[in-house]
C-alpha cells in the first residue's frame, strides 16, 4: 500500500513547542545494536490488557521472560542481587539478577557535556566525549563521567566527529506532554513506560523545532507487521497534512519509500528501497538524516544506510514537526528512544560501515571514503597512510574514522557485567559493584573504576550475553486474550 491516496485535508493549529530535553550533546546512532527485542513484550501485554499506566512515575524492572513490574530499585550489590520496592508488596522484594533483562529508571536526569565525538566500541558500547590523542596503540578521550583517559585502540570501532552546530532538539518520550494525538475514537496512540504504542490508523506528532539539517531516530517494534508513515518537517501534529511542504517516509517490512509533499500539488514519489531483512526481528532502529543544504533524505536501519534520496527540486521540508501515522488497523507498533537533533549540513553522519575490514577507513565531509592506516592525531590533524602516501588531514575535514577489525569484538561479557544507558545517548558496560540511593560504583575493563550518580543512568541492562528473544514469549502476547 502506498501513501498516495491517503490524502487528508483538514487543518489544525500548531501546538506547544518541544523543548530541548538534554544538555548532554549527543549525536545519532545512539543504539545501533538493538537491545532486547523482548522489550516489546511489555507493550504487547499492555496492548492486550489495555492496562492503565502507573499513576506515578516509577522504575520498571523487566525480566528476560517478558514479565515486568514497576516500583523502585532500592539497592543493588555485586552479584548478591537487588532490593525492589513494589507498591503492592508488603515488603521489599529481594531478587537475584540472574533473569533480569533491564531496569528503566523514571527519574533519570540529563548530563551536561559538550562532546565533539561519538565513540563506538567493539564490545557494543558507545560514548560521547572528546578525542584528545591517538596513536597506533592508544586513544585518548575525555568523557563526561571520568575525565581524560587513555584506552587501547583495539577497543574502539569508530569515532564520529560531531558538528559544532549539533543540538539535541528532542529526546524521549518520558511522558506524553508536548505530543499531539489524532482525534480518533478510540485514540490509537498511548504512552507507557518510555514508549508510544500505536494500534490503529491515527497520528502522533509534535513540534520539535526542525529547521535546518536534522536527524530523526527511533526504535520501532511491532507484532505481526507494520505500515508506518513518518512525516518529517510536518506543519501539523495530529493529522496527515497534504497541504504543506514536508516529506513522508513510509516504512513496511518490505520497503521504505519517500514522498515529497507540496502545497497545492500532488505528492511526488521519490522512490522506494527494499527494507533490509527483518527475519527473526521484532524491533529495529530507524534513523533519518535530512540534509537541507544538499536536499537529501537518507534512511538507515540498525545503523546501516538503506538509501539516500536526493530531491532534485531542492529540500522541500518547511514545517518544524514530526508525525507518526499507523497506516492499518490491527498492527500494534511501539516507538521508543526517539532522538531528534540538528546539525551542520557539512557534517552529515555516515552511519555504520556494516562489515568491518582489516583496514582503517576515513569518511570525509564531501562524502568520500578512503581505506588505509590511521597513525596519529597531532595539532588537530590526523596522520594517515593511504596507498603508501602519508597525509595529514585536518579534523574539520573528517566526519568519521572506522578502525580495522580486531579480536576485541569477540570478547564475551563477564559475569555480573551490566550495560548502562545514559540520558541523551551512549552506553557503557561494566561490572556493577554497588548501587544505592546516592551512588553507583563499578569497574570497567576499558576505563577502570567508575562512579556515577543514579540519576545519570536511564536504563541498566543485565545478562548481556543471554538470549532475549524467545518467539514463544512474543506469541504469548500476540495471542494474549484469546485464552480465557
Amino acid at each position: 500500500m502506498t501513501i498516495i491516496g491517503a490524502r487528508l485535508l483538514s487543518h489544525f493549529g500548531v501546538n506547544e513547542r518541544a523543548g530541548s530535553i538534554c544538555s548532554l550533546a549527543i549525536f545519532m546512532l545512539k543504539r545501533l545494536k538493538s537491545r532486547a527485542p523482548i522489550a516489546a513484550v511489555a507493550f504487547l501485554i499492555f496492548c492486550a490488557k489495555a492496562a492503565p499506566a502507573p499513576e506515578t512515575k516509577s522504575d520498571l524492572l523487566q525480566f528476560l521472560d517478558g514479565s515486568a513490574m514497576h516500583g523502585r530499585l532500592k539497592e543493588l550489590e555485586g552479584t548478591k542481587g537487588l532490593s525492589w520496592e513494589h507498591p503492592e508488596a508488603k515488603g521489599l522484594i529481594e531478587l537475584t539478577a540472574a533473569h533480569i533483562d533491564y531496569i528503566r529508571f523514571a527519574q533519570a536526569g540529563s548530563v551536561s557535556a559538550t562532546p565533539g565525538c561519538h565513540f563506538r566500541f567493539a564490545n557494543g558500547d558507545d560514548l560521547y566525549g572528546t578525542l584528545t590523542s591517538l596513536n597506533q596503540d592508544q586513544v585518548g578521550l575525555a568523557t563526561w563521567f571520568g575525565g581524560e583517559v587513555k584506552i587501547p585502540r583495539a577497543a574502539l570501532q569508530s569515532i564520529t566527529f560531531l558538528s559544532k552546530a549539533y543540538k539535541v532538539l528532542y529526546e524521549g518520550p518520558t511522558d506524553d506532554s508536548g505530543w499531539e494525538i489524532g482525534r480518533t475514537s478510540p485514540a490509537y496512540w498511548t504512552y507507557r513506560d518510555g514508549a508510544f504504542i500505536g494500534t490503529g490508523p491515527g497520528a502522533l506528532g509534535r513540534d520539535v523545532q526542525l529547521s535546518g539539517s536534522s536527524s530523526i531516530e527511533f526504535d520501532l517494534a511491532w507484532t505481526t507487521a507494520f505500515e508506518l508513515l513518518v512525516n518529517i518537517y510536518s506543519e501539523s501534529y495530529e493529522h496527515l497534512d497534504y497541504g504543506s511542504h514536508s516529506y513522508f517516509i513510509e516504512l513496511t517490512p518490505e520497503q521504505i519509500g519517500l514522498q515529497r509533499v507540496h502545497a497545492g500539488a500532488n505528492p511526488s514519489n521519490l522512490g522506494n528501497a527494499a527494507m533490509p531483512s527483518l527475519k527473526d526481528k521484532s524491533k529495529i532502529r530507524v534513523t533519518i538524516f535530512a540534509n537541507k543544504e544538499e536536499g537529501t533524505v537518507a534512511v538507515l536501519v540498525d545503523g546501516v544506510l538503506v538509501k539516500r534520496w536526493k530531491d532534485s527540486n531542492g529540500f522541500g521540508g518547511a514545517g518544524h514537526g514530526i508525525l507518526f501515522y499507523v497506516m492499518r488497523p490491527g498492527m500494534a507498533i511501539k516507538l521508543s528512544n526517539i532522538l531528534v537533533s540538528a546539525w551542520d549540513s557539512k557534517f552529515e553522519p555516515v552511519g555504520s560501515a556494516g562489515v568491518r575490514t582489516n583496514n582503517d577507513a576515513v569518511s570525509f565531509i564531501n562524502h568520500d571514503r578512503a581505506g588505509g592506516k590511521i597513525e596519529t592525531l597531532q595539532d588537530g590533524k590526523v596522520g594517515l597512510v593511504f596507498g603508501g602516501r602519508h597525509l595529514n588531514v585536518p579534523l574539520e575535514r573528517i566526519t568519521q574514522i572506522d578502525f580495522a577489525a580486531t579480536n576485541a569484538a569477540a570478547a564475551a561479557h563477564g559475569p555480573g557485567e551490566v550495560r548502562a544507558w545514559f540520558p541523551g545517548g551512549g552506553s557503557l558496560s561494566f561490572k556493577l559493584e554497588k548501587w544505592d540511593d546516592t551512588h553507583i560504583a563499578g569497574q570497567s575493563e576499558v576505563f577502570g573504576p567508575l562512579a556515577f550518580q543514579p540519576r545519570s543512568i536511564r536504563e541498566l541492562e543485565f545478562n548481556l550475553d543471554r538470549p532475549k528473544e524467545t518467539p514463544g514469549r512474543v506469541e504469548r502476547d500476540e495471542l494474549e486474550g484469546l485464552d480465557e
Partner: protein, 495 residues
C-alpha cells in the same frame, strides 16, 4: 468412556478447518445483502452470544500474576488468605513474596491434565447468571440437584439457580482434538507475502495463528457428520475452512486451475461478519451456495461453530453458538471428494482454534425452541428431536421424572439432549469477588476464602461452600465490580 473423553467431546469442540481459500476478502462487507438462492434456507438471522468460555489462560508452565497497572510476574501461587494476601514464589527471589490483593486483577495457571473421571451422565450445567459447571448428573429433587465433579466432589446446586443442563452424548468421536501437531500438515499461504506467512502453533489443546497459515488433516469425516469447534480471535476473523477435501495444501482459488490436482471440496469462508460457502472443483467456475452477514461475529471475539453435514442429501447446516444460522444445499449434489479438513488463517488478526470434535451424526436437526411455545414449563429435549414439557420433579437412578399435561412420566437421561428449566426463579446472583475459569472452559464466580496447595475453599449461593482442587483452575480474576459480579460469566466472554 471416562470423564475426560466425554468432556473433551463437548467442551473442546473445536474443529477448525481453515481452508486455504486464498480469496482475500477485504473489510467492508457490511453492505452485502443476504443472498439466498433457491437451495438455501436461512433459518435464523441472529445468533445468540457464545456462552462457553473455553481454553487455558496461561501459556507457559508457570503461574502468572497480573496487576491492574499491567505488571506481570511469572512464578507460582503459594496461597491466598486474609492474613498474608497473595503469597507468591518467584524464581529469582529467595523468599516468598506477599502481595496485597487490592490491585491484582488476575492469576493465570498453566493447564493441568484432567484426571480420569468416569461418569454415567456427563453434563454441563448453566446457571441463571450464565456461569457453567461440568460434572456427572447424579440426582435432583424439587430444591436441589446433585452434581459430582472431579474438581470439588459432589456439589448440591440450588435448582432455582439453574437455567439448563446439557447432557453430553457418549457416542464415540471420530476425532477429538487437537492434541498436538502430529498428524497435521502445515501449508504455506498461496497469497500472503513471505514475511506475512506463518504457521499454526499448538499449545494446550489449541492451534494458534497470528499470520497467514494453513493446517490440514485427513480427519476421516463420515458421510453424515457433526463437526464442532471453537474459534477465538483478536482483531479481525478471516479464516477459510475446507470441508471434505483430499488436499492438505491450501488452494489459491483465484488460480485454482493452475494448482496441483485436487478433488472437490467445500470452502467455508468467514471474513469478519461475512459468511459464505463455496463448492470448489478444479475446473468449474466458482459459485456460492449462499452468503450472509452474522452480526454476532462482530460483537464477541469468540464463537462455537457446529457444522452438520449430510452427504447423501447434499446439505450442510451451520450453527453458531448452538443456534442454526443457515442450511445450505448443493443443487449439483455433494462435490466433496475427500475426508479431510483444512484451516487457513488469512493473515488478518490472531486466531485460536480448539475443541475440534467430529462425530457420526444421526441426521436429525434440532427443533428450534421458538417453535415449541412452551417456555413457561420445564422442558426435556430428547435426542430423537421430540421433547417432554411439564414440571421436573426429580432425577433418580438415571431417569428424569417429569409431570406433564398427560401425567407423570420417566425419561432415561441417556435419551435426553438438554433440560431447560422454566424462566429463572431467582435473579442473576452477585455471588462473589473472584471469577474463575476452570480447566475445561467452565466458569464460576464465588467468594474465595482460602487458597492452599491442598484445596481452594470457596462459597457461592449457587452451591454453598466447597473445596476445589487447585488444578481445577486456569484463571482467577479479582476485583470484580458490582456490575461485573451480576454479569457473572457473561463478562468473561466479553473479555
Amino acid at each position: 468412556m471416562n470423564w475426560r473423553g466425554w468432556m473433551n467431546k463437548f467442551l473442546a469442540r473445536s474443529g477448525l478447518l481453515w481452508l486455504a481459500l486464498c480469496l482475500f476478502i477485504p473489510q467492508g462487507w457490511a453492505q452485502l445483502q443476504i443472498i439466498g438462492n433457491g437451495q438455501t434456507t436461512i433459518k435464523m438471522a441472529t445468533v445468540p452470544a457464545l456462552k462457553t468460555a473455553a481454553g487455558n489462560a496461561s501459556f507457559g508452565t508457570k503461574d502468572a500474576l497480573v496487576f491492574r497497572n499491567g505488571d506481570l510476574l511469572y512464578g507460582q501461587l503459594l496461597g491466598i488468605d486474609a492474613e498474608h494476601g497473595i503469597r507468591w514464589s518467584h524464581a529469582d527471589s529467595t523468599q516468598p513474596i506477599e502481595f496485597k490483593s487490592d490491585n491484582v486483577v488476575a492469576i493465570d495457571f498453566p493447564a493441568q491434565p484432567v484426571p480420569s473421571f468416569p461418569a454415567d451422565s456427563p453434563c454441563r450445567v448453566r446457571f441463571n447468571n450464565e456461569e457453567l459447571l461440568d460434572g456427572n448428573l447424579i440426582s435432583a429433587d424439587a430444591q436441589t440437584l446433585t452434581l459430582d465433579t472431579w474438581q470439588a466432589g459432589k456439589l448440591k446446586l440450588q435448582r432455582s439457580s439453574l437455567q439448563s443442563i446439557t447432557l453430553i452424548s457418549q457416542a464415540p468421536a471420530v476425532f477429538a482434538g487437537p492434541t498436538g501437531k502430529e498428524g497435521w500438515t502445515s501449508g504455506k499461504s498461496a497469497v500472503a507475502a513471505a514475511a506475512d506467512s506463518g504457521e499454526w502453533i499448538y499449545r494446550n489443546g489449541a492451534f494458534y495463528a497470528a499470520k497467514a497459515a494453513s493446517i490440514a488433516r485427513d480427519l476421516k469425516l463420515p458421510d453424515v457428520a457433526e463437526i464442532q469447534f471453537d474459534l477465538a480471535w483478536k482483531g479481525s476473523l478471516y479464516v477459510a475452512i475446507a470441508l471434505y477435501t483430499d488436499s492438505l495444501q491450501p488452494v489459491n482459488l483465484v488460480s485454482k486451475e493452475n494448482e496441483p490436482d485436487f478433488g472437490g471440496f467445500y470452502s467455508l469462508q468467514i471474513n469478519g461478519t461475512f459468511l459464505d460457502l463455496k463448492p470448489i472443483t478444479k475446473h468449474d467456475p466458482l459459485r456460492s451456495l449462499g452468503q450472509l452477514i452474522i452480526p454476532s461475529l462482530g460483537e464477541k471475539p469468540r464463537a462455537h461453530l457446529d457444522l452438520r453435514v449430510n452427504k447423501p442429501k447434499g446439505t450442510i447446516a451451520f450453527f453458531i453458538n448452538d443456534a442454526l444460522v443457515i442450511e445450505w444445499k448443493d443443487p449439483q449434489g455433494f462435490i466433496g471428494q475427500g475426508t479431510g479438513m483444512r484451516f487457513v488463517h488469512q493473515g488478518m488478526g490472531a486466531a485460536k482454534l480448539s475443541g475440534l470434535r467430529i462425530t457420526q451424526w444421526d441426521g436429525q436437526m434440532p427443533v428450534p425452541s421458538a417453535e415449541t411455545n412452551i417456555m413457561t414449563q420445564d422442558v426435556a429435549w430428547l435426542r430423537n428431536g421430540s421433547h417432554s414439557a411439564g414440571v421436573i420433579e426429580g432425577i433418580q437412578n438415571g431417569k428424569l421424572i417429569i409431570q406433564g399435561a398427560l401425567g407423570k412420566s420417566e425419561v432415561s437421561l441417556a435419551e435426553i439432549r438438554q433440560i431447560d428449566f422454566t424462566a429463572p426463579k431467582s435473579p442473576a446472583i452477585a455471588s462473589g469477588n473472584v471469577r474463575a475459569t476452570l480447566t475445561q472452559g467452565a466458569s464460576l464466580t464465588f467468594q474465595l476464602e482460602k487458597w492452599t496447595p491442598e484445596g481452594v475453599v470457596v462459597s457461592s449461593p449457587n452451591f454453598g461452600q466447597a473445596t476445589f482442587k487447585p488444578a481445577a483452575f486456569t484463571k482467577l480474576q479479582f476485583g470484580l465490580s458490582p456490575a461485573e459480579r451480576k454479569q457473572g460469566a457473561v463478562k468473561s466472554d466479553l473479555e
